[in-house]
């Protein structure tokens, strides 16, 4: 059945899917960035996830899109790491001089931040600078969290999925989600405190 001929009111319309992707794409990119730590890879991951959603899951109700998309995104990130692992195995085999992924060491979250936009032209520069620094420290701390804790935290609080939806997206129990979230918040609080950041 063609998408244009869809009549079931429960199924997501073209406009709903379009609006959903527009709303979620930036957060999805940031999530991918925290995980893969490379802008190009993160963009590829998000694009793959969007393509999978529209190609395979467009026949789903609009209400299921957030959870479905998050599940696809997490799986795509995991696929990225699997491919990277296979590639690095071959690289190690073929070259004894392989130095591993140096990008991890060189990663600087400040580079992911853009220059200040014109809309902030009238704001206090000192305040903007401080906020930018806090933002960078928070993103750096998130990048240092264990992957499962970060996933749980972002899905639960940033994507605002409930515990059951987060558990479904992560493929684990609701109890695990609560544990991961609690540990993530405490770990973040400790890391931010160590950097002198109080929220």
């Amino acid at each position: 059945m063609g998408f244009a001929h869809r009549t079931d009111p429960l199924l997501a319309s073209y406009q709903e899917i379009s609006a959903f992707l527009a709303e979620v794409e930036r957060r999805a990119f940031k999530q991918a960035m925290f995980a893969v730590r490379d802008e190009h890879s993160a963009l590829d991951v998000v694009q793959d996830a969007m393509l999978k959603l529209t190609e395979k899951y467009s026949e789903k109700p609009a209400a299921e899109l957030p959870m479905l998309f998050q599940r696809i995104l997490q799986n795509t990130i995991h696929d990225h790491f699997r491919r990277q692992k296979v590639r690095s195995t071959w690289t190690t085999l073929l070259s004894a001089l392989g130095k591993g992924d140096e990008k991890d060491d060189d990663f600087d979250p400040l580079e992911t931040l853009s220059a200040k936009s014109d809309s902030n032209a009238n704001a206090d520069p000192a305040q903007l600078l401080e906020q930018g620094q806090i933002m960078a420290i928070i993103e750096q701390a998130l990048g240092r969290l264990p992957a499962r804790q970060r996933e749980a935290f972002l899905l639960r609080y940033w994507e605002e999925l409930d515990v059951a939806e987060t558990a479904a997206a992560m493929g684990c129990s609701e109890g695990s989600v609560k544990t991961h979230c609690s540990r993530a918040v405490h770990a973040l609080a400790l890391m931010l405190k160590a950097k002198g950041v109080t929220l």
Binding site: R26, R27, F29, E55, S114, M135, L142, V185, A189
Partner: protein, 135 residues
């Protein structure tokens, strides 16, 4: 999770939201392009199928082929395979023919050449020749 933890998480999320609002223009543009590509496939499933087939044929390249049949059903594929097989068989036959021709030429050269002078000085050869004539 206590209420205090949840408040703390919400404060962190506020900063994360600011971070997404200030994405680099190039990054935002590439995200937009990715979204449009995904939506284009949604709007036109046939185009999506064609793009997948083109990607399979061209190793990930883009473009449409207008072909609905699977790759293995393509006549061109089987003609190509047959041509390659025929070329391999012809090459192998040519090699066998060349080897036989070389052996023939060597035999003819040996049989038609003069007897070397050393052979007349070889007593063993003289004895063999005498016995061969007697028999």
């Amino acid at each position: 999770m206590t209420a205090k933890d949840q408040d703390y998480a919400k404060k962190i999320v506020t900063y994360l939201d600011r971070g997404t609002a200030e994405l680099k223009a190039g990054t935002a543009y590439r995200l937009q392009l990715g979204r449009q590509e995904a939506l284009a496939r949604l709007a036109d499933p046939k185009r999506a199928a064609d793009l997948r087939l083109a990607g399979a044929n061209a190793g990930g390249g883009s473009g449409t082929t207008g072909v609905d049949r699977p790759l293995w059903a393509s006549g061109r594929l089987w003609i190509g395979i047959a041509l390659i097989a025929a070329a391999a068989f012809g090459f192998q036959q040519w090699q066998v023919y060349q080897q036989l021709k070389d052996i023939e030429e060597t035999d003819a050269a040996i049989l038609s050449s003069d007897l070397p002078i050393d052979a007349y000085l070889d007593r063993g050869f003289q004895n063999w020749l005498k016995h061969a004539v007697d028999e």
